[in-house]
Amino acid sequence: MSNLRAGIGPLFMSPDTEATRELFRKKNKALTNKLMSVKEAVERFVKDGDYLGSGGFGTNRIATAALHEILRQRKRNLGFAGHTATHDFQILAAGNMNGAKLLSRVDLAYIIGLEARGLSPHSRRVVESGELEVCEWTNYALACRLRAAAAGIPFLPSYTMLGTDTFRFSAAKEIECPFTRRKLVALPALNPDVSVIHVHEADSYGNCRIGGITVADPDLARASKRVIITTERIVSTDEIRSAPQATVIPALCVDAVCEVPFGSYPGNMPGEYFSDEEHLRQWLEVEKDVAAFSAFLKKYIYDVPDFESYLQLCGGMNRIAKLRALELLVPGREKDGQL
């Protein structure tokens, strides 16, 4: 087939699976205790220049504690994969201020917006300034790229993005199907250097359970060279072994396990607590003014030692109790936290 096209966007990560196989060969596969603080996990496993993956879905089951810590440790020049990245992108984009550059390159499908809540003024400033190298994708294209990497193959084909400018500004390539002669889009495998994923339960080795939708996290964990898990609760390995069908990420993939109760706050954690719409709205509002946003970040992130202190500043257990009532649709509490 002639006239097969290729996107002109930058390919930030090599889809060479042989290289990742070599890395995975050297990975520690023994069952070892990986429990540590978020601070230690980020110090050890997130390097300047790394390409970062973030689990969950923007404001749902996100690894807020790890994202804050990346900001607090002032990591630099990170790459990022943004499939419906909303509050997670908003946190990372806060590192691109006052001359600092936490993010330098982004594979994006959905950033800047917070869905029905509106656009993030600061994220817009960062992306519109041109200081980031960006490459366009779709949510499913990024999911396929992670799936290819998780499968250990260089690409997966799909019918997505054909005929669009999204394809033109991506780094995908059109290919011909060897069986049907149909045109397809080849989506290159994406192996992030490190990913941060928040789960409901994990044991000390990193065997993980997720309640509800998994989004793309099982593939993200398998695709990533290093994985930091934050978990609502630590459970025993006996508990994991009693229901192995519930394990969605095996310890083999995981490098660090951090117990962070309410760790998706201000995001939603299915079955545990709803998103704090008031806090998210405050964040969007304060971003309008750079000085006010700097002061906000200083108060809530840079001047606190850890996530627990942030949670205290946001109302602590009283706030969580309200969000839990909202999550569980306790009668009479429906109005709390509405937009």
Partner: protein, 255 residues
């Protein structure tokens, strides 16, 4: 005569398009409200899917995010993004419901940027799942307010495929056969696409709206469909369900 606002009318007109027993992949906001309304009126067995993984939820209230707990509340399955997108790619999804910043005569959508790619005037979130869903689902429904800034002759960026540049263009690009935009619901009317030219035409005018008003609010030529009619106004039951059960805090239908 019952009173209603433009967004209520758009949601109600859109909801009526979804038949019982069909499948629809929706985003949050107006599309989700329309699917919920359809489920509570003529389509109790409508299967709603969210791109983040929820399949066939019984929505207690409208989700704020397409991935929050509500999006798989009492669902038949809490899956993954690939699970839902591949249901669509396999040909099992009848409808998808999208919005956008700009639309052109062929129903192509822009949700990426205004201006030049290298130096955008305004950057929007990007495709998200829109390009995937419009590529895979049989019929694309679009909700977008009517203005010359939004109904443009040429998009600043083609994020999501409609009929691309005319008859046969989707198939030539490699997209699955037989799919494409089906209806565009604005605050002025409902638009369909001419079978021959694949260009947008006015299918029905909302109550009190003239054809000239639609043409004046559209930057390209928009002909009347052969049997152009008038949109049936919202009835009391539809408005009550929308206001009381679906969006009681009016965050989509307006405060």
């Amino acid at each position: 005569m019952v009173n209603y606002n433009a967004i209520e009318l758009m949601i109600i007109a859109a909801a009526r398009l979804l038949e019982n027993g069909s499948t629809v992949a929706v985003g949050t906001g107006a599309p989700c409200a329309a699917a919920m309304l359809a489920q509570k009126t003529q389509a109790p067995d409508l299967i709603i899917a969210f791109e983040s993984g929820g399949l066939a939820p019984l929505l207690p209230v409208m989700p704020i995010s397409v991935g929050d707990s509500r999006s798989f509340h009492r669902a038949l399955m809490a899956g993954s993004m690939s699970e839902i997108m591949e249901i669509c790619q396999r040909g099992l999804m009848d409808y998808t419901f999208l919005g956008g910043a700009q639309i052109d005569p062929y129903g192509n959508l822009n949700s990426t940027l205004i201006g030049d790619y290298e130096k955008p005037k305004v950057r929007f979130p990007g495709s998200g799942g829109a390009d995937d869903l419009a590529s895979f689902c049989w019929r694309t429904l679009i909700i977008i307010p009517h203005s010359r800034k939004r109904f443009v002759n040429k998009l600043d960026f083609l994020t999501t495929p409609g009929y691309l540049n005319g008859p046969g263009a989707r198939e030539a690009a490699g997209l699955p056969r037989g799919c494409g935009p089906y209806r565009v619901i604005s605050d002025l009317g409902a638009m369909s696409f001419d079978q021959e030219t694949k260009r947008m035409q006015v299918e029905s005018l909302h109550p009190g709206v003239s054809y000239e008003q639609v043409q004046q609010s559209t930057a390209f030529e928009i002909p009347r469909a052969r049997n152009m009619g008038e949109t049936t106004p919202p009835d009391k039951t539809e408005l009550r369900i929308l206001r009381e059960e679906i969006d009681p805090y009016r965050y989509v239908i307006g405060r």
